[in-house]
């Protein structure tokens, strides 16, 4: 067991709270930074995709996991980011500027979507965001002068200061750097007043408002931030696809993104990473499985969505905190070994809820 002696308030504010963090996260960073050295060229590309999913996941986690607002339309923000980025690159705008603009434009649209959805929660919000995603999809198809419609749109190779960063390893590091930067921003946000206001809105709107949290402002802000990160991921996703077409940003993509944060573990940044690895690598896992399995099983059509769906159901039933929840239990098991009690995480029913006002 680890007991931390606290002698300063700063200890609760720091991102790295004790030496154990330094050791384990340091090791994790070492592993990802040396990744391209020992990973297969193909897997380097796959991990870049995992990082891209993780960036989008950060955005969605802010919205779903920390503010309690559901979105079934995040593929739209991914698309807005990707198309804006590609369009600007085609105009000759440098990569960082295009990326920033893509993120900013996505945030703007996110904020605008946030306003009409202020009074909605739960299933109604999910349907509203779904509708938004459908609209965006139609715009991508029909606004041919900008998006190229069904013909699609080529994405120039990523290039920065004359350097070509289209090789898998270079692109891997680009995605990794942006992911780490985004994570720091999100962690900073979560330890400051705005982040706390978000969790307050999630847990009780009534009392958040009575504590002086401006509900409307907080929700619109979170929508914008969420869209900003997802748009940023979209910009990188454009390079990954190298040719944009509307069918890359469908309802399935939105569901995958939502699945990522739910399976990873709602309300934790670890969950984003776990979820991104899950979503990014599961298709590979299924492909390997298809190769190994007997022909009768391997040729079942639609195996992938079926496994995704089954995973989601199993997680919701048995581990509502997702992979991160399971991770916590395993960690506690080793920390308290051999004294771990199974009932530590037993869910308690509580009957203390005030009658809701909405």
């Amino acid at each position: 067991m680890r007991y931390i002696r606290k002698t300063s308030y700063l200890q609760d504010i720091r991102l790295v709270q004790h030496r154990g963090h330094l050791l384990w996260y340091g090791l994790a960073l070492l592993v990802v930074f040396t990744g391209p050295l020992w990973l297969d060229r193909y897997l380097v590309g796959e991990f870049a995709l995992v990082f891209i999913y993780a960036i989008a996941g950060l955005g969605l986690m802010l919205l779903v996991g920390y503010t309690g607002l559901v979105s079934l339309g995040h593929a739209a923000f991914l698309a807005i980011g990707a198309y804006t980025h590609a369009y600007l690159l085609n105009l000759g705008v440098p990569l960082p500027v295009a990326m920033f603009a893509a993120s900013l434009f996505s945030a703007l649209v996110g904020g605008l979507v946030g306003i009409p959805t202020l009074r909605m929660t739960g299933i109604y919000l999910a349907v509203a965001t779904l509708a938004f995603a459908v609209i965006v999809e139609q715009v991508l198809v029909h606004w041919e002068s900008v998006t190229g419609g069904f013909r699609g749109m080529a994405v120039p190779k990523p290039e920065f200061l004359g350097l070509d960063i289209s090789s898998p390893a270079a692109f891997y590091f680009l995605c990794l750097a942006i992911l780490l930067g985004s994570m720091v921003l999100v962690m900073n946000l979560l330890r400051s007043p705005t982040g706390r206001a978000m969790t307050a809105v999630r847990d009780s709107e009534t009392s958040a408002e009575s504590m002086g949290v401006n509900l409307a402002r907080t929700k619109v802000l979170v929508f914008a931030l969420s869209a900003a990160f997802t748009g940023l991921a979209g910009a990188l996703f454009a390079h990954r696809l190298s040719y944009l077409a509307p069918d890359a940003f469908t309802l399935i993509t939105s569901i995958q993104l939502l699945l990522m944060v739910v399976v990873g573990g709602l309300g934790s940044l670890h969950g984003v990473i776990f979820g991104a690895i899950f979503i990014g690598l599961l298709p590979q896992g299924i492909a390997i499985f298809r190769d190994a399995a007997p022909t009768a099983v391997a040729q079942i059509p639609g195996l992938e969505p079926a496994i995704f769906g089954a995973m989601l159901i199993l997680v919701l039933i048995y581990e509502p905190l997702g992979i991160y929840g399971r991770w916590c239990k395993i960690r506690l098991f080793f920390e308290e070994f051999p004294l771990y009690r199974k009932s530590t995480y037993k869910r308690q029913k509580s009957f203390l809820r005030t009658e809701r006002l909405h």
Binding site: I13, N188, S192, R196, S210, G212, T354
Partner: protein
């Protein structure tokens, strides 16, 4: 001097007249209790003052400012903090984070500063933490600091909610049945704490309470309501022996 003045306060939900033409004033520095049988409109009055419900008729003036129409989240900034009848804490957060949200209205940093966690944000966080620790000290919550609310017993949650309200540094504290769910010992502690909050911190308190012992021990004046109407306002003894109050509680 009156801190809060409600005049001819009414609220109707469709045909239900939950509160009808209730007028009262609360003086600065007093403990003012609202009593009455279930459904008398006590909590509704709290919800009107904290702007969760819209007032149908009448007006509420707080520290010289008309607050009948202001936005709900502005109420805390003016200096009114409240607790809820069945606790409305942020259940998946720690006690510490709950209390820090109480400091929300005192934040001065912008979103950009927070995204980069500039020194200004850090300084502000340390300042908030010190303010929170003062409240933790006052209400003896040290051992619960890092506990998740969902894992705490009800009595502690009640205290955390009062603590969170105190973190906003209010002028007026609205306590909705602070002793409900507390055992007799905790209730006794509560009455001392109420005295501390009222006298040492100089915070005016309005509370809705059923425990008549606590009411007569802690409060200066009492308002009795029944069926949304005002019966009487007076000292605890006067109200307890008022014939109409007795009738409201016991029937004819």
């Amino acid at each position: 001097m009156s801190l809060l003045a409600a005049s001819k306060l009414s609220v109707h939900f469709g045909g239900v007249k939950a509160v009808q033409e209730v007028s009262f004033t609360v003086r600065e520095g007093e403990v003012f209790s609202i009593v009455g049988p279930n459904g008398a409109g006590k909590t509704t009055i709290f919800n009107l003052v904290s702007r969760i419900y819209d007032t149908t008729h009448g007006s509420i003036v707080f520290a010289g400012q008309d607050i009948t129409q202001i936005a709900t989240h502005k109420v805390a900034e003016l200096g009114i903090a409240r607790t809820f009848q069945n606790t409305e804490l942020f259940e998946r957060e720690t006690v510490l984070n709950n209390l820090l949200i109480g400091c929300h209205i005192h934040r001065k940093t912008s979103l950009l500063e927070e995204l980069f966690f500039l020194p200004s944000v850090k300084r502000q966080e340390l300042k908030f933490r010190e303010a929170v620790e003062d409240v933790i000290d006052l209400l003896d919550l040290q051992s619960y600091r890092d506990k998740i609310i969902g894992s705490l017993p009800y009595g502690v949650r009640k205290m955390v909610e009062i603590a969170r309200a105190l973190c906003t540094r209010p002028k007026l504290l609205l306590l909705d049945e602070p002793s409900s769910g507390l055992n007799p010992e905790e209730t006794e502690d509560l009455s001392f704490w109420l005295e501390d909050i009222n006298q040492d911190l100089g915070i005016t308190i309005i509370m809705v309470e059923h425990d008549m012992n606590l009411v007569s021990q802690a409060s200066h004046r009492v308002m009795a309501l029944a069926d949304g109407q005002l019966i009487t306002i007076g000292s605890p003894q006067e109200v307890q022996s008022h014939p109409q109050v007795l009738r409201a509680y016991l029937g004819d």
